[in-house]
Symmetry: C2
Subunit: 343 residues, 2 copies
DNA sequence: CTGAAAGCGCTTACAG
DNA sequence: CTGAAAGCGCTTACAG
């Protein structure tokens, strides 16, 4: 026999964690009764109020904490909702993480989030880890290869949902990227016109050509130009990833007019644009004007900013949980309108 | 007998998850052998390379995923590192979350983060949940009541570490808030002097009077004033929480000079300051100048910004993991210098 | 109103 | 080189 879980309690002693057996012994009852009282099924078992109270009190005194590993192992369901996301440190994904946690808790479920740096290999590894945690559902947010995740999870019996980027093997919730980008483009064009005195095609920077959102946003961007009879030269469309460094170095190598309007595809890309602008002194009164897909409270106040398309995180998450409840067959796609924010 | 874990695989069939027993049966060997091969202890057990390969192949074919709940239940250690944090959606905490995950993974451990909205009750509930997950260590980041968390975890034999805000019952890693604030204050004073043509005491806004970081930063703020013989009137020190709304409404109710310098204690508070500034048209050439404790790439580019004190997240996390390795007795306090960023 | 017992899926000391 | 067996801490159908 081995020792079971032991740990140093910081004072040098060895502490064994309290179990329902310990409590049962102290209370002079059975582990079954303790379990039922502690997990709230005791009314169904018609355990006396007196005993229930005594058990609860002892559990508190002993600093009892349920062993979830044991509990989940035994039960049919874990009540854990897993989420995979690319990054934490921008406002869009940060808000998703925070609201996902709050919403999950409100339903009495447990959130577990894991962040995968937009790397497909890490994504699958993370999915595997979450399946090992026995998550009951998995939400893949902004996944590079959502279908691979869905396929893997399906084979383990775990239903998946896509958020931010859609997939073809599971229900998806995404922003209405087309309309959001079209409206934002219209705004940038009109503001640039007002300031520069003429309507020129905008630049488009950021995103991945393989990714659905970038394609849709580009479509909206082109639509807004077509509406007013503007053609966009191919060299004004710069789609080489979301990263800030890439955006900065690309702009650095280009021959750009003194004044121009630019559609920036994500605040991550915007960081690079702003650095370039600052370094080359291309901002201010007589410099460029930008609009950005995604909202950030400080970027919104930059003098060169003419508008931002905020994704409606709250409604997006609401839609995801509706899908979890509805368990729709096949690959439903729900599109949520963006909120256009002009200064 | 009950059914064991079953789940709908999305196609309407019922799927039972593959276990080591299934694999053992297919491979014509024992569950022990499968377990040993799959968790890498098989060389020690001198299992034949041939069998190991066969088992690995079958596991892959069957889409086997380890049941971590069962594994952790049986083992002495979970290898899970838990982290509690107040919020995700600002750059400082976002960076902590992201780097914590990456570092934890690099060590072959599993990160679990949970976000508690700076509410003491949620913090303890979260600690309880993480203990239930059988975390081997718990890091309390920016906790309102770190000692309560440490005491609770100690009784369950889980060692804790404090990050960002210190506690008295566990080792702590915090920024050198005093020096960071003093240097930032010096910078704001000198920039305000250069622009306004005179040296006036700055305003200080944001934070909690009960919190160690706010106290230290205020001390640095006052020190920088004292150095040059400036007294700060009490009504220039506004410490009523970190929240943006509160900051905005407080400024709204004050009688403020046209031009002034302000020390903003966190980017969260800065959001409120910037909103107030914009709404009342108090920014720009002839308006206020601010410096902010905490860094944000867009806030750094606002024209009214004169500098930011960036907390060195990377070194802070490095220090936390050093403490985890060293297991120091008592309540060590490690202070990490900030990085002063001037535009 | 309550308890004994089986079993969730692993790991590992032990015996060959 | 390999397997049988015990046990981690729970939950729950079953039997009183």
């Amino acid at each position: 026999m081995d020792n079971g879980r032991r740990a140093d309690d910081g004072a040098g002693q060895t502490a064994k964690r309290t179990t329902i057996y310990d409590i049962a012994e102290i209370a002079g009852t059975s582990p079954s009764a303790v379990s039922a009282v502690l997990n709230g099924t005791w009314k169904k078992r018609r355990i006396s109020e007196r005993l229930a109270e005594r058990i609860t009190r002892i559990a508190e005194e002993q600093g009892y904490a349920l062993n979830l590993q044991a509990s989940v192992l035994r039960r049919e369901r874990s009540n854990i909702v897993g989420m995979i996301m690319p990054k934490y440190d921008n406002r869009y994904f940060g808000a998703i993480a925070e609201q996902f946690e709050a919403r999950t808790r409100r339903r009495g479920l447990f959130p577990v989030i894991t962040c995968t740096q937009r790397e497909p290999e890490l994504e699958l590894e993370a999915a595997r880890a979450l399946v090992s945690y026995q998550v009951d559902w998995l939400i893949a947010t902004g996944a590079t290869d959502p279908d691979r995740i869905s396929a893997f999870c399906a084979s383990a019996g775990v239903p998946t949902f896509n958020l931010d980027l859609p997939g073809s093997l599971a229900p998806s919730v995404v922003s209405d990227n087309f309309a959001g980008a079209r409206d934002l483009t219209r705004l940038i064009i009109s503001r640039a016109h007002a300031e520069f005195g003429r309507s020129e095609p905008l630049y488009f920077i950021g995103g991945r050509s393989s990714d659905h959102n970038t394609a849709e946003r580009l479509r909206g961007f082109l639509e807004a130009h077509a509406e007013i009879g503007l053609d966009v030269p191919a060299d004004r469309i710069i789609i080489r990833g979301y990263g800030a460094e890439k955006a900065e170095s690309t702009l650095e190598g280009m021959d750009l007019p003194q004044r121009f309007g630019i559609f920036v595809n994500s605040t991550i890309t915007l960081e690079g644009v702003v650095r370039w602008m600052q370094r080359n002194n291309r901002g201010g009164e007589s410099g460029l004007r930008f609009g950005c897909f995604d909202w950030d409270p400080f970027a919104a106040r930059l003098p060169e900013n003419v508008g931002m398309a905020e994704q409606d995180v709250s409604r997006m998450l609401e839609a995801v949980f509706e899908l979890i409840d509805a368990q729709p067959a096949g690959n439903v796609l729900r599109q949520i309108p963006c909120i256009l924010r002009a200064p």
